[in-house]
């Protein structure tokens, strides 16, 4: 495997890992605030649809982005209503959100576009195209660092840079700001926040809204960055993988980057090497397709240890029984 190949695989890993990263950070805000979210899949799907639809109609990816984030946030609001205001079961609500997105997207897509639950193909300004960072071409030929900069770092859609920027931003917000302190506190012990005179409900809704925005960006990237339009069920389980990555990362932003990029990398590797010939036997294609999941289990069992979720996670805040 030469250097160029490694760069290409890493490049692919970045693309594949980005939607996971956005969804994972989305989940991080919600779960750090004590609201479990297995509805990331649905939020991404909803955002993918609305961004695809609006970008197709207007020809403007940015309007698509707004619509996508809006779609995702509306589901986030439903989840918030269920788990904060009505103190319902957060898992049930998450399951419902996934079902809702799965059915709703195709239903509206069909009724708007009559293309069997797809949106029209996007082209031109309807998509977030890769952007070339300054100097990328110039340094192309510099050994080692040149390809890294121009092939790996440059040449992604704006949303990739946003996603990567969100990692330090999330870290900073969480651990360096008043908002982050309160957010973490509300996920650990909402009573401490309440008795400190802060509204638990407002904190949690804010967190859930941020989740909506970030998961929305993940969906938008799928439909308008990586693909060129919406296809039914196009999230293909990425929301669940993002959830796995979140637990993997023990609800911390920098490890979340590592976990999601690891998933991206494993998938990129299995794409790149559909069969591996071991001389005696050729590993079947199904094995290579399962490799990312098998390795995840092995890494988890071997190195990660116990992940302790935020203490108040999953429980509605009830003062008076």
């Amino acid at each position: 495997m030469d250097f160029g190949t490694i760069i290409e695989i890493l490049d692919s890993a970045v693309r594949l890992g980005t939607p996971l990263l956005l969804a994972c950070l989305a989940g991080l805000f919600s779960e750090r605030a004590g609201i479990f979210d297995i509805g990331l899949e649905g939020k991404m799907l909803m955002a993918a649809f609305f961004s695809g639809a609006v970008a197709a109609v207007t020809g403007n990816a940015w309007l698509g982005l707004l619509a996508g984030v809006g779609g995702s946030m509306s589901l986030a609001f439903v989840h918030g209503l269920a788990s904060i205001t009505f103190r319902g079961n957060q898992l049930i609500s998450g399951v419902a959100v996934n079902f809702l997105a799965s059915g709703f997207t195709v239903l509206i897509a069909q009724s708007w576009f009559h293309q069997g639950g797809r949106t029209p193909q996007l082209s031109g300004n309807g998509r977030f195209d890769p952007i070339t960072l300054p100097g990328a071409e110039a340094v192309q030929d510099v050994p080692f660092l040149g390809p890294i900069y121009s092939n790996l770092i440059s040449g992604h859609s704006i949303l990739v840079y946003v996603a990567f920027a969100m990692v330090p931003i999330t870290w900073w917000v969480l651990f360096r700001t008043r908002f982050g302190l309160r957010l973490r506190a509300v996920g650990e012990n909402p009573e401490s926040v309440d008795t400190a005179g802060i509204s638990v409900i407002r904190m949690r809704y804010t967190a859930v809204a941020i989740t909506g925005v970030l998961a929305g960006l993940g969906g938008v990237y799928l439909a308008t960055g990586l693909a060129a339009g919406f296809v039914k069920e196009m999230t293909a389980g990425r929301g669940y993988i993002a959830l796995a990555a979140l637990i993997f990362a023990k609800w911390r932003p920098v490890p979340a980057l590592g976990a999601t990029m690891l998933f991206g990398l494993l998938e990129a590797i299995s794409n790149r090497y559909p069969n591996i010939d071991l001389g005696v036997v050729t590993l079947p294609i199904q094995f290579m397709q399962a490799v990312p999941y098998i390795l995840t289990v092995i890494i988890l069992a071997g190195f990660i240890g116990k992940a302790i979720p935020p203490r108040a996670g999953g429980q509605p805040y009830v003062k008076e029984r």
Binding site: G116, Q121, A227
Partner: protein, 306 residues
């Protein structure tokens, strides 16, 4: 009235269910007749749908997809006066017409074109899932490629093992990019909704792609080399036209019967060189005459080339 049942992918799968739908629509438009249609929800509904239609008096009843074979085998004898037609599977019953396509022949042709269009000598294939039908496509394709350029390399990928494999354009695109970075400059996608991502990534990456089932050349004019046509629409149209007089037995839809083919239109005119056109015509004739025999994966569950 005739009736059609689509497989689980649904009638707008941008693939062969959609082709079947187009055939039915064409029939209705041309004859002014009406037909019934059903979409599956689950495996258990196959029998339900078949019996429902049969009992409603529909005749003939066409179904798309090999997955109906088993059910049809048990249902058909109960309705001896109803004619059934099944696409992609042989069902040996006196009132069933089995329509099988020689996908390997069509794939062979697009394989030839791919090899001729390729400058790198490396071409790609993206299948939805590792199942016999897709292997059949792949095998024909590889044979076509090798017929033109025995040294050519064919990179083969499958998208997944869950139903999502057919609806994951993002993964399709990423696989296409991986193939491009390994030198592939023509990529053939037989992966349903996933294929849309493959075609897109190929267009973005400035390489050629090949569509499947219906004519997908229009998706990226000037970027899609051709599409391997599987004329399920014709099969459905024919069955509907035959009405209750549908002839039971096996109906092979190969090149000779115009059952498979390559799509040539304004969108890919600039891409298809006269030599390509000539070679394809020649191969068509040779296949029809039996001079070239394209190996069918299903005949022995194996492929002579890789």
């Amino acid at each position: 009235d005739p009736a059609i049942i689509y497989d689980l992918g649904g009638k707008y799968d941008k693939s062969f269910n959609e082709a079947a739908f187009n055939g039915a629509k064409r029939w209705a438009e041309e004859t002014g007749g009406s037909y019934k249609e059903l979409e599956m929800q689950s495996e258990a509904q196959r029998e339900q749908a078949l019996r429902k239609l049969a009992e409603s008096g529909a005749n003939p009843i066409v179904m798309t997809g090999f997955a109906f074979g088993d059910t049809l085998n048990t249902v058909a004898p109960d309705y001896p006066d109803t004619k059934f037609a099944i696409v992609d599977m042989v069902v040996d019953q006196p009132n069933v017409e089995s329509i099988v396509f020689k996908e390997e022949q069509g794939s062979y042709l697009v394989g030839m074109m791919a090899a001729m269009a390729s400058k790198t000598g490396t071409v790609g294939f993206v299948g939805g899932m590792d199942i016999p039908l897709i292997r059949k496509f792949a095998c024909g394709y590889v044979q076509g490629v090798k017929a033109v350029n025995p040294d050519a390399k064919v990179i083969q990928n499958m998208t997944g093992t869950t139903p999502a494999a057919w609806n994951d354009p993002v993964k399709g695109g990423e696989i296409a990019k991986a193939q491009i970075s390994q030198g592939a400059d023509v990529i053939y996608a037989a992966a349903g909704g996933t294929g849309i991502g493959v075609l897109q990534a190929a267009a973005d990456g400035d390489v050629l792609s090949i569509g499947v089932d219906s004519n997908q050349n229009y998706l990226h004019p000037g970027k899609v080399l051709t599409s391997m046509l599987k004329r399920v629409d014709n099969a459905v149209y024919d069955a509907f036209s035959a009405g209750p007089d549908l002839k039971p037995g096996i109906k092979v839809m190969g090149l000779a019967q115009n059952g498979v083919g390559v799509a040539m239109d304004d969108n890919n005119k600039s891409l298809v060189t006269p030599e390509m056109e000539k070679a394809v015509e020649q191969a068509k004739a040779d296949i029809a005459s039996g001079k070239i025999e394209v190996h069918d994966y299903m005949s022995d569950d194996s492929c002579p080339v890789e």
